[in-house]
């Protein structure tokens, strides 16, 4: 009813090619941004205790995981290359950022967070090289080589963690205009704003890439690599570019995870294969080849278990924490299968179908 595009005429190709051609979508996105940038912080100020929990436990990690999911989606969803090495690429970003900020403490941490993406970019390209010869699941195994090798490096190369006795990244305090951005003194609110800005900005860039020539060449490689070649798309550069951009996003997400979410320190174990699986399940559920799906997936896989635990808590059922955890794990699996059966293209497709239905509502056609 209110979601109807009748009467919205596009008079230029530019208008038709906009990412959100429908007015209501633009309003919706605007509202979302408004809520994220004003509503949520306001809420957090009004209810500091809950607000803090909400920012630190839900919003910040949600945004960071969504960014990592976008990264993986560029590789797996848009270019069709399955990767099981996301965790390690995130780790490269985190360790690169740690090295950079300890070697050059004078430069602002946000610069280093973004710069660290280029390091994981480079590593990603190296491990993407086999994609010239290998396809499909074979390539997935090649990315496992990256995962285990990099993880080994994180533990074994003490230079990476500055020879700390703890063997972990110890996040030093970094400030912007005198406000702490990292470390224990950085408030969840500050970190939230930084994360939000970076994630929104990078999502915008990802959307630009995907809607343009480069995105089309990725999808062409994914859908029919032979035909893509005959369109003049070189496979290796296209795949390597996907690896590069994907790893950049994962790297930035990894660096943000350590510096703006954990904010104090992280063991290399954080970047284990489980992290890779975690992000992978997000894009499966959210929808392969969809930016908004990456957000949906992150929300479902990361936030849903928290809500489940919280529901079990509130309901007062006498279930042990362990049982809840087991049920959570099981439910995640069931949901993955369920969504695949209902809609193999993930929540993003469901969302689209929903929008389509709304568009023509109340008629079925």
């Amino acid at each position: 009813m209110f979601y109807r595009e009748t009467g919205q005429y596009k008079t230029s190709y530019a208008a038709d090619m906009a990412v959100f051609p429908i007015l209501q979508d633009r309003i919706g996105v605007g509202l979302m941004l408004l809520v994220a940038a004003v509503g949520i912080p306001l809420f957090a100020t009004l209810f500091p205790a809950t607000g803090n929990f909400f920012l630190q436990v839900i919003m910040i990690p949600f945004l960071i995981f969504a960014l990592a999911a976008i990264g993986l989606n560029i590789l797996t969803g848009y270019t069709g290359l399955i990767s099981l090495g996301t965790g390690a690429f995130m780790g490269v970003g985190a360790f690169a950022c740690y090295k950079l900020t300890t070697i050059f403490p004078g430069v602002n941490i946000i610069v280093w967070i973004l710069a660290s993406g280029f390091f994981s970019c480079a590593v990603g390209v190296v491990f993407g090289l086999p994609s010239l010869r290998i396809k499909g699941f074979y390539l997935a195994v090649a990315t496992l080589a990256a995962q285990f090798f990099l993880q080994w490096c994180f533990v074994r190369v003490p230079w990476l963690f500055n020879y700390n006795a703890s063997g972990a990244i110890e996040v030093p305090e970094r400030t912007l205009f005198g406000v702490a951005l990292t470390g224990a003194n950085a408030t969840a609110m500050t970190r939230y704003f930084v994360v939000l800005a970076i994630v929104v900005g990078l999502t915008w860039i990802a959307s630009n890439l995907i809607h343009g020539r480069i995105g089309r060449s990725w999808m062409a490689v994914r859908d029919m690599d032979i035909a893509a070649q005959l369109m003049g798309i070189k496979l290796l550069p296209a795949k390597l570019l996907a690896f590069a951009v994907s790893s950049f996003y994962c790297g930035v997400a990894g660096a943000m995870m350590v510096f703006f979410w954990y904010a104090t320190g992280a063991e290399p174990e954080v970047f284990s294969i489980r992290q890779s699986f975690f992000i992978l399940s997000m894009i499966i559920i959210g929808g392969l080849g969809s930016l908004i799906g990456s957000y949906f997936g992150a929300a479902l896989i990361y936030i849903m278990p928290i809500l489940l635990g919280w529901l079990a808590d509130v309901s007062g059922l006498p279930i042990g924490a362990a049982t809840i955890e087991h049920l959570r794990v099981m439910l995640t699996g069931v949901l993955i299968i369920f969504f695949l059966i209902v809609e193999p293209h993930g929540l993003a497709r469901l969302w689209q179908i929903g929008k389509q239905k709304l568009r023509i509502w109340p008629f079925p056609y």
């Binding site: 290998i134 080589a145 294969i273 399940s281 794990v329």
Partner: protein, 318 residues
């Protein structure tokens, strides 16, 4: 120069210097390889018959072993527990066919792969929920599996063969032989091969895909159980075993996703290669390189033979 010596000469000097250790290393690699091969075998069976890259094979192994031990701990006699576990694996195969494969028939490979990914979560949660997360002892003695070791004095030293490892090798061989016979000379085996070649053609000659899937997943479940028992006997039964099952992936790369001999030869190459690498070249990097060595061995092979050792040469047609 020194580093070149350490890489190219020193390990071989060591091999020659202590041949008993070399034999022992090869043996350990062989046993590890047999177990990798068994996990890979489960993958191959399912991939051949249903085109599904079954990510849950590792957890199926843990789940099977856990069920066996869990039932025993709940007071069920060992062999009855074994039978019941086989029953559970059958039920699991039925359930998977009914709830996962059938609704997802004709979906792209990646979707099915993701579904088995979901299955992994379900089995982890279910296993922990029913049997608890504590590591459990494998009931080797109760299942009449041998204990102890045979020490052979040879080559100026001692080679010690664990009886359980010998049993693992024997059981694995019997299983592979049994599967080969099953595939070659039974009606179901022929149907399986037909399905592996072409789903639609198989359907058109009246083979029930659903039935075949159940059989294949059940067979893979049995293989998983055998692997679980063997690996459980070597360490213990815990969810950490799941990660080890990932080692079957480089094996698959080597052997090709559809080749049973490939899985076995690949398993042995990875098993032996990884042990030799860790033992003789590992010290150069401060040891502990086993976690990624197998993947690099597989990758190196792959760059020369993208279709794996035994896979058919891929001719792309358009």
């Amino acid at each position: 120069m020194d580093i070149l010596y350490k890489i190219f000469i020193d390990p071989f000097v060591q091999m020659g210097g202590a041949p008993d250790l070399l034999v022992q290393t090869l043996w350990e690699g062989l046993v590890g390889g047999v177990l990798y091969a068994l996990i890979a075998l489960g993958f191959v069976l399912i991939f051949k018959a249903s085109g599904v890259f079954n990510f849950a094979q590792g957890i199926m192994m843990v789940f099977a072993a856990l069920t066996l031990v869990g039932l025993y701990e709940k007071g069920v006699p060992a062999f009855l527990a074994l039978l019941l576990t086989i029953g559970v694996m059958y039920a699991l195969a039925l359930g998977i066919e009914r709830m996962v494969l059938r609704p997802l028939v004709n979906q792209p490979d990646i979707i099915l792969f993701m579904a088995t990914f979901g299955l992994t979560f379900v089995l982890v949660g279910l296993g922990e929920l029913i049997f608890g997360g504590e590591p459990k002892q494998m009931i080797t003695e109760q299942l009449w599996l041998p204990k102890g070791a045979i020490d052979i004095k040879m080559l100026g030293g001692l080679v010690s063969l664990q009886k359980i490892d010998i049993a693992a090798a024997v059981i694995a061989s019997i299983m592979v032989a049994g599967l080969a016979v099953f595939f070659q000379s039974t009606r179901i085996g022929r149907a399986l091969r037909a399905v592996a070649d072409d789903h639609q053609a198989a359907l058109s000659v009246g083979i029930s895909l659903n039935q075949i899937w159940v059989i294949v997943w059940f067979t893979a479940g049995i293989v998983a159980l055998a692997t679980g028992i063997m690996w459980g006997a070597r360490s213990d039964v815990s969810f950490a075993l799941e990660i080890i099952a990932l080692k079957a992936l480089p094996v698959l790369i080597l052997g090709g996703f559809t080749s049973i001999p490939g899985a076995i030869v690949g398993g042995l190459i990875i098993g032996i290669g990884e042990k030799l690498g860790e033992f003789y070249w590992g010290p150069l990097l401060g040891n502990g390189i086993e976690s990624w060595l197998a993947y690099f061995i597989a990758l190196a092979f792959l760059l020369f033979r993208p279709q794996g050792l035994f896979g058919e040469k891929i001719i792309e047609r358009i």
